[in-house]
Amino acid sequence: MPTYDLIVEAIIAGEENQVVTLVNQALSQGAEPQDILRNGLIAGMEIVGKRFRGGEMFLPEVLLCAEVMHKGLDIVNPLLAKAGHKGVGTVVIGTVEGDIHDIGKRIVGLLLEGNGFEVIDLGVDVKTDTFIQAIEKHKPAILGMSALLTTTMPYMGKTIDLLKEKGLRDHVKVIVGGAPVSQQFAESIGADGYAEEAGSAVELANKLIG
């Protein structure tokens, strides 16, 4: 069986030692770090994500797979950086101003990390200006905003408007989520995507960064 498939299997099984051994083996056999990342590590987490969305895997299993995947990432990331390759991407996430709901956002953050994203979690009750400052500082590929109250949803639109005003809108993809948020709402405020739940947020993030 090709090494990438074995890496995928080891990630799904949560076998840390196997992932480390196989990644090192692949490198010693001349595999490119970028290919190990895409075809082994991320491919493994994509299957984990599918099983999570299908109800076959739950948060403990997913987080364990993510931790194991990161052991492989710890090996390839320095090589990628040396060769000038970017990692999977950076995501800034936060719950909007006036809203303190946290659990869904934290789960999304953990799953994004598990899929190789660097996650900057700004926490809850995040002012619009704070989102902008974080984007200017971290230059993320994606901004993820969460709201669980309809009274706070408008801050998502305000943040997007401020991104346009600052000339940053074209530099970052914006995804939104939370119980009262909908695809229709996301489109109305000019967001790039809407995630109904944590698993689909990761799928959407992967799709947006291409």
Partner: protein, 353 residues
């Protein structure tokens, strides 16, 4: 015949038809209370609104160690570092147990501290025999998730389950003692909070849920039952797949039948209404915050018609009356419950014939 509030709630929890659908809330934010009855105490507000139960939400009257007053950073009784927010629940920032060796030096909180019971003793002196006095306690599963940190908790469930068993035991021992103390001072009902699920469903597999969530829940329920006191359970999220398991723990009521997670209270009533009292589920995210009084009244009527026929419904919000709820909408909700909730409630089909 008009019942007292405690009689109304007790009959409802026994799945008997009372005189009217009862109502109460896990928490009613002070901002909302003050808008309706400025400057009143919580107890006076309960009397004014004629709410069937005075619920004392654990975290609302807990004491915290101040770490950074300016930034609102505090440490809770289990040692979790949190940040205060505009709402009642502070947000966890740092776990209390970051590695197994932290357990050697860990001091669990004292469940016998007298100040913890002062609000409840006052409530019992005011309401006993008239309105239900309910004490809430945070469930073992949820509290350990904060004590250990979310990611570590979930990974430990697979990689170090014995550590989670130890942490579970610490919280369970605290909770059992707290529950017993509450009952001994006259609390009528215990309401266990803390989510097992989120929108997509249960957070953990059935096997892990049984060991780490349902088994400790059952022990708390058994403690209540030993004293003949009903025990209610709150969990947000879509819990349809675990309703049977929840009912098997012996809880008397389940809250809130989360509409935001796609739960249909009518469907839950049809399947489980003969086994458990439903508590919910007027949406507090959109409806109670920004819709009209007319829409609130319509939602209450629908909820009662869907889940209140024959009894077995305590009509509440879908979580709590948080600071974003429009006070006029909360008033409309309570008035609508009194109006549409008078028994006998006929089904819409019966009422047309």
């Amino acid at each position: 015949m008009k019942l007292t509030s405690i009689e109304r709630i007790s009959k409802t929890l026994r799945l008997e038809e009372p005189d009217c659908v009862p109502t109460c809330e896990i928490n009613i934010d002070k901002k909302v209370r003050d808008a309706i009855l400025p400057g009143a105490s919580y107890e006076d507000f309960i009397e004014y609104m004629d709410i069937d139960a005075a619920v004392y939400y654990d975290w609302a009257y807990d004491k915290y160690e101040i770490i950074d007053e300016h930034k609102g950073i505090i440490r809770d009784k289990f040692g979790v570092i949190k940040r205060k927010t505009a709402e009642i629940d502070p947000i966890p920032l740092k776990a209390a147990i970051n590695s197994e060796k932290d357990l050697q030096y860990y001091n669990p909180p004292d469940p016998d501290v007298p100040w913890k019971y002062e609000p409840l003793e006052k409530a019992v002196s005011i309401f006993k025999g008239k309105r239900a006095v309910i004490a809430t306690v945070v469930d073992v599963f949820y509290m350990v998730n904060e004590i250990r940190g979310m990611a570590n908790h979930f990974i430990d469930i697979i990689m170090n389950p014995e550590l989670i068993d130890k942490l579970n035991e610490i919280v369970l021992n605290y909770n059992l003692r707290f529950i017993t103390n509450c009952i001994n001072i006259g609390v009528d009902i215990i309401w266990i909070t803390g989510d097992f699920a989120y929108n997509a469903g249960p957070m953990v597999s059935p096997e892990h849920l049984q060991r780490f969530a349902l088994n400790p829940l059952k022990k708390q329920v058994d403690c209540c039952k030993h004293f003949g006191v009903p025990c209610l359970k709150h969990t947000d999220g879509n819990i349809l797949s675990i309703m049977d398991s929840l009912i098997e723990t012996g809880i008397s009521g389940i809250h809130p039948i989360d509409p935001g997670a796609g739960m249909d209270i009518g469907e839950v009533k049809r399947i489980y209404g003969d086994r458990i009292c439903l508590i919910g589920n007027i949406d507090c995210g959109d409806l109670l915050t920004r819709k009209t009084g007319e829409e609130v009244r319509a939602a209450v009527k629908n909820c009662i018609n869907s889940a209140g026929i024959g009894g077995g419904l305590i009509c509440t919000s879908s979580n709590s009356i948080h600071s974003g709820v429009a006070p006029k909408n909360y008033v409309a909700m309570v008035e609508a419950i009194r109006h549409y909730g008078r028994y006998p409630i006929l089904s819409e089909v019966t009422s047309l014939t």
